[in-house]
């Protein structure tokens, strides 16, 4: 409880703060920014939708809706993958690149102020390790739960550490 309550508070408040800054200063949500940022780092400013969903930890459905909105705003365009027509590529436009360049400094600044500056050098290292450990547990659990909708966890007979 001692450690869980602060973490629970963190998980609700920090995303809210990041969202508020981006919405106020750039008119986009944190998730929209994150999608643009991931595309800006990709080779050719291009990503398959499924790979982008993976990188942004989102469902394909959510990503599809968001990319449609970003497309309407002129920051992204979509094209079927020339090599394999089953895939769709999301491509950052020039306007999209400029949006990222204009928006990134303010975002980086608030992350630094709210997270990095709140901690000592030592704590930053601890946070990295703790974050990785938890994410490594959560990721397979999330996959397992998506696969077993409607079932109840049986912690007695199921020694699998995943859940």
């Amino acid at each position: 409880m001692d450690a869980w309550l602060p973490l629970a508070a963190l998980m609700t408040k920090l995303p809210a703060a990041l969202d508020a800054q981006l919405r106020r200063d750039a008119g986009i949500s944190h998730f929209e920014y994150f999608v643009l940022a991931m595309l800006s780092e990709a080779a050719e400013h291009t990503h398959r939708m499924s790979a982008l969903a993976e990188r942004t930890s989102s469902s394909l459905s959510r990503l599809s809706h968001v990319v449609k909105r970003l497309e309407q705003r002129g920051w992204v365009r979509r094209a079927p993958c020339p090599a394999d027509g089953r895939y769709t590529n999301a491509i950052l436009t020039d306007a999209g690149w400029e949006k990222v360049v204009a928006t990134a400094p303010g975002h980086v600044d608030i992350v630094r102020r709210l997270v990095i500056d709140a901690l000592t050098e030592e704590q930053i290292g601890q946070l990295r390790d703790i974050g990785r450990s938890i994410v490594d547990r959560v990721t397979p659990a999330l996959t397992a739960m998506a696969a077993s909708t409607g079932q109840v966890i049986d912690s007695e007979s199921e020694p699998d550490p995943v859940l």
Copy 2:
């Protein structure tokens, strides 16, 4: 970046995992559970709406909508505060109490498995301190941003550490 990326991943995936477990096993969202849990810990199983919003880190509007749904499901009821008619009390019903009692073990179990068991004793202590430090920074920043909608952060002329 080293520490930020794991934290960003944590903030999207851990809430998703908790939500999935509660939705699957109890048919409620994590936020709905949290509201019921806070009420179950309160004296008389009662809280003013504004105090409950504070404790759950949510807006009054969001809480109002959620409590309405919980009321429709019979787990909560609302009554104006006898002492001061401006306030509204949210009160956990007997059925609501039973819902919490039935739901808590599964939720506690998954938090333990995903968070606590992923860490050493030492890391749990570190996480508590890190979480508190960040939340202490984020909370006033969030308040400040709510108050200054539409304005741009000026990091040069504004030495205030809040943002």
